[in-house]
Amino acid sequence: MSAVPHPLAPELRAVTGRDLAGLVLSLVIVVAPHAARAPWWVSALVLALYAWRALLARLGSPLPSRWALLAIAAAAMAGIWVQYHTLFGRVPGIVLLVLFSGLKLLEMRTHRDATVIALLCFFLIITNFFFTQSIPTALAMFAALLAIVATMVGFNAPQRPVRANLRTGAVLLAQAVPAALVLFLLFPRVQGPLWGLPQDAYAGVTGLSDSMSPGALAHVALSDSVAFRAEFQGAPPSQTLRYWRGPVLWDFDGHTWRMGASVIAPFKPPAGGTARYSYEIVLEPHERDWLFALETAASLPDGTRFTSDGQIFARRPVRSRIRYRLTSVTDAAPDPRADPAELRRALRLPRGFDPRAAALAQQWRRESGSDAQVLARAIAWLRASRIAYTLEPPALGRDSIDEFLFETKAGFCEHFSSAFVFLMRAAGVPSRVVTGYQGGDLNPVDHVITVRQSDAHAWAEVYLQGRGWLRVDPTAVAVPGRIESELVRGSLSGEAVPLLMRPEMKWLRALRYDWEALAHKWNVWVLSYDPQRQRDLMAFVGIPDADWRNLTVALFAILGALMLVLVAWSLRGLSAPDPVQRAWHSFCRKLRATGLERAPGEGPRDFSERAARSLPHARAAIHRIGELYLALRYGADAPPGKIHELRRLVRELRLT
């Protein structure tokens, strides 16, 4: 075999300006979302590298030397080291990949290199999904995918117009969808991660923490991002009843409340209660292991643990969106029993903090006969205190509770709950801080309640002998508007309220409800498709308890069937050859049977004339067939009448 260069080999085909344009466009789409996350100089550098390559192609100048590129790479890596103090980890890794795309572009000469860059684009697409998997991101990345595939088609068909290549790309993607859908639904899913993730894998997630210091919650509440969504079977509870219980904080050091050690306890469903709600929560990843439930939970989601103070924990931190189903009773009677050790812990206070508040509490204790009376005094005092509710609480000093209660007299829910629990403990009433969310936005479109970080809340629980732990919301007591309405109306005008929460943005909110409904569906059906839902799906189609073997068999069976359909469909257009050609071939076959063979290079006219000479009895028909064939094959138009005549003549031709 000769060693001639292969004209289809990608390493021998030079990249054209059109290929470069397609690649740069694809790269810009996939890199653009990273521009906001990467340091500005990286974005500028990468853009400059792209522009440089485009300019070199335009001028027809040679590409920079390997050494120049290595120098740029080294300098950029040094910059990244200075910025992040590491080259590994998620964000530096992605920034490096983005930089690499620019450098690779500058040493791209052949279609082989160009294809490598197209593959690099796929990796850049998936890095975007680390940060957001929203519908707009998905659409943008799909557009990028189309650009990449069409560009790759262009590598292999340099003479074709861009439009045709774009169409081929779209056809390929459209043909890929059924197989992709089957793979998505049936590919046996494994619960990740497969190995340890970088330290910063999930950095920058807002949400509640296991501690609470003044101002912390107000900071969380400024975020508009979604904490979770709840979908109720039947009517959801009213706004004032929607206390979503999260971390319970026990230990106070004078400044910060902490969760401390939690005691795992067997789950006891609450007694009594008639307002029973069954619902499903889609929880956004928040990097912590606690789950939120409407107070008071009457059942637990599978695979969770329960603590004696009523918290629900997942087995591991929630790092991807999860769904769980549970029931709650909003009017259940609390359990009157309590562990003495727990009650002692609920009275502990640091020494030497907030003397004025402590003195006030001790005064209530002296003047009251029971814990219930102390509680009533405290509520009455708070109601009369005229303390303002604000998202921008003033900074507090060492005795934060004294300052809040008697001096600044303005705070957010963490100030109210913290101060209230301090007063209760100082008066000898066991109490604790509960954090979570309050309320949530009911979407009239799909009746899903969206709970945002701006709904973050903290309240108190007080233990009364013979009654058990009772919920007291000091914020609602002091500022009644806060709970009945929403955050917006409770806050003072002119404060930093998230844009969409402002009342004047009514039409925008209506639009947002539609969008939220769509986003919820997207979350439920696409983003939180997991092994559990995969099993549900298989059970739905009649295969209960499906394991990976069932899934694999189903996957390959359906995929194989799909491939057959695709092959048949692709060949369909090809399987109907030209009727004229078919009739001619059949004519040639009939002649061959009599020993007349068309000689190589013999034209149809010569052949039919020769045949007519040697077969005089069929002369007229053979002549006419040759005439018709030439007219139809090489004539300007093909009237159907002539085609019919040709086919009929060939069919009726008798040569023996």
Binding site: I125, I126, T168, A180, F184, P193, L566, V567, P600
Partner: protein, 321 residues
């Protein structure tokens, strides 16, 4: 070794699904189209594997979606690549005879079928490596000319031709072999020489006594060294730079025998045939009536293109008795 086994053997015929040569229009059945991933195809697969592992590890739903969509694109590309060759119809036109040492222009016609476009098709002549890439637009017959060097006189069969495509994504390479029943006649390489020695005017050959300079003027032709100066068309020469010779109808009588026996016996077979071919051309240029005698073959004196072709064919196909 495996390659040669694959290319030329009964096993290959069975494997490739046809037995050569194939007459008339060859239509590539889809069973005759083979397909394997290219190196880029393997790279694509490896990239998908990494994307899949990343999606599992970070539990990225859209990562799964991307990976699976790309896997689907790969499958669709495979089908499309095979489709780009399947059911294509191939025919070969008549190839003009050439002289040994020149290249035969084999014209190959690719018919994609009704409404079917087939971009970026490579044709490669396996024996010589002659190759050409072409796009076959819908409803059009594309013509590809493969220039196959002709090394020896005689019939040159086209032999096996490979059709290959990597369209649309370059991830797969589909190919097929055809061996159409086409061949081309290769004349011996003509040795540059003047006319045969006219002086050897024996009964056996050479220029017989000619009724020169007589009769009617018949036209002009290129000057030959052997032409008499009396016949040079000096007036015409004055108008152009070419030497022209006046031809008279009396030349009809000029008869020339190109005889194998005139050649020195020491010359080899091919050399003799080359010399004879050169004579045929020279005689034809001179407009002479010439006949040719080879051992066992005699062509009566005639003139004209058909006669020249017949002589050259006889030389091309001559086999020593």
């Amino acid at each position: 070794m495996i390659r040669s086994l694959l290319a030329h053997s009964r096993f290959a015929d069975w494997l490739y699904g046809f037995s050569p040569p194939e007459r008339g229009n060859v239509v590539l059945g889809h069973r005759r189209v083979y397909i394997v991933p290219t190196r880029l195809g393997w790279m694509y697969g490896a990239a998908l594997l990494i994307l899949l592992v990343g999606s599992i590890n970070y539990a990225i739903s859209l990562g799964f979606a991307l990976t699976f969509l790309l896997a689907g694109v790969g499958l669709a590309a495979m089908v499309q690549t095979a489709r780009n060759l399947a059911r294509m119809s191939i025919s070969v036109g008549r190839a003009e005879p050439v002289y040994s040492g020149e290249a035969v222009q084999f014209r190959i016609y690719l018919d994609g079928g009704v409404g079917t476009e087939r971009p970026a098709i490579l044709l490669r002549h396996l024996a010589s490596g002659a190759q050409m890439v072409t796009d076959v637009p819908p409803d059009t017959v594309a013509e590809v000319v493969l220039a196959v060097p002709a090394a020896r006189r005689g019939w040159l069969p086209l032999g096996r031709v490979m059709l290959e495509t990597r369209f649309p994504l370059g991830l797969f390479r589909a190919w097929s072999y055809v061996e159409p029943d086409a061949r081309c006649l290769i004349y011996p390489r003509p040795e540059r020489s003047a006319m045969p020695p006219a002086s050897a005017g024996s009964s056996a050959g050479g220029a017989r006594a000619q009724a020169q300079g007589s009769e009617d003027f018949a036209g002009l032709r290129d000057y030959q060294l052997s032409d008499s100066p009396r016949h040079v068309a000096w007036k015409a020469v004055a108008r152009s730079d070419d030497m022209l010779t006046k031809q008279f109808s009396g030349d009809v009588a000029a008869e020339l025998w190109l005889d194998w026996q005139l050649l020195p016996a020491t010359a080899g077979l091919e050399q003799r045939l080359s010399r004879l071919a050169g004579w045929v051309l020279a005689a034809d240029r001179a407009g002479a009536r010439y006949g040719m005698r080879l051992p066992g073959v005699t062509l009566a004196p005639q003139r004209g293109d058909a006669h020249r072709a017949a002589c050259l064919q006889a030389l091309a196909l001559y086999e020593a008795p």
